[in-house]
């Protein structure tokens, strides 16, 4: 089980309070689909993903990005039991959605880069470390029920 220190929890929470979930979520997912185009394979039903501007402006991408980042909000409330928190979502991503867990790690990396663009100097190395630990742990939790 991943253990987060008091400092790591505080760092994550302090930044989370200022995050615009819709903007950061939408942008993170859009960047994933653009920087790693093969990830588009899971989003055939999302409509126009033909160009960078189409992806960045796609309302389904934004909506799904917001949904994904909202689940991070839930993760932050349950940092001591991420596997339990994400058990159902893990089964869903394995059994119904058939998503390679590597994608969870890639999306986590995108979230960090987007946070860095928004928070700049405030996104210190220590802040980056805490968030990287969180996104890695969420990715692992999402992969935990795969079979």
């Amino acid at each position: 089980m991943v253990h987060f220190t008091t400092e790591e929890k505080a760092a994550v929470a302090s930044l989370w309070a200022k995050v615009n979930v819709e903007v950061v979520g939408g942008e993170s997912l859009a960047r994933l689909l653009i920087v790693y185009p093969w990830t588009q394979r899971f989003f055939d039903s999302f409509g126009n993903l033909c160009s960078e501007s189409a992806i960045m402006g796609n309302p389904k991408v934004k909506a799904h990005g917001r949904k994904v980042l909202n689940s991070f909000g839930n993760a932050i409330k349950h940092m001591d039991d991420l596997k339990g928190t994400f058990a159902d979502l893990s089964e869903l991503h394995c059994d119904k959605l058939h998503v390679d867990p590597e994608n969870f790690r890639l999306l986590g990396n995108m979230i960090l880069i987007v946070l860095a663009t928004h928070f700049s100097k405030e996104f210190t190395p220590q802040m980056q470390a805490a968030w990287q630990k969180l996104t890695n742990a969420v990715a692992n939790a999402l992969a935990h029920k795969y079979h």
């Binding site: 653009i34 990396n109 960090l112 860095a116 663009t117 996104f123 190395p125 980056q128």
Partner: protein, 141 residues
């Protein structure tokens, strides 16, 4: 293969780094060591707790090499050959570490350029640095 647009994005971002290789490089290393402490095993020569002077010095060397790669984007194999030899014979950095450096590089660029760090720039730099990593490890075996 990098498209003309990708090359332009790479060069445009590099213009902001050129002349500041030391500070960007130091920040890259500091983030790398903080976020991925296991990478420090490859930098024992900098000591247990590298100080700012060492980070600036080594960071500058690394970023200057990136600058050379930017200048000769079309001929990475030739221009990075000595560094490829070094990594294969002496440094022997496990290839799984290069994505970690690239992630930290992206965070450095993103935090400095903020809203101006477009997805096109991010994609071009990801592709470019991944290509550099491939060349640096291609003589491993």
């Amino acid at each position: 293969m990098l498209s003309a647009q990708e090359r332009a994005h790479i060069a445009q971002v590099w213009d902001l780094i050129a002349g500041h290789e030391a500070s960007f490089g130091a920040e890259l290393l500091l983030r790398l060591f903080t976020v991925y402490p296991s990478t420090k095993v490859y930098f024992r020569h900098l000591g247990d707790q590298p100080d700012e002077v060492q980070l600036l010095s080594h960071g500058q060397r690394m970023l200057q090499a990136v600058g050379v790669a930017v200048q000769y984007m079309d001929n990475l194999h030739a221009v990075l050959s000595p560094l490829a030899d070094l990594h294969a014979q002496v440094l022997r950095v496990d290839p799984t570490n290069f994505p970690l450096v690239i992630q930290c590089f992206q965070v450095v660029l993103a935090s400095h350029l903020q809203g101006e760090y477009t997805v096109e720039m991010q994609a071009a730099w990801d592709k470019f640095l991944t290509g550099v990593a491939v060349v640096l490890t291609e003589k491993y075996r």
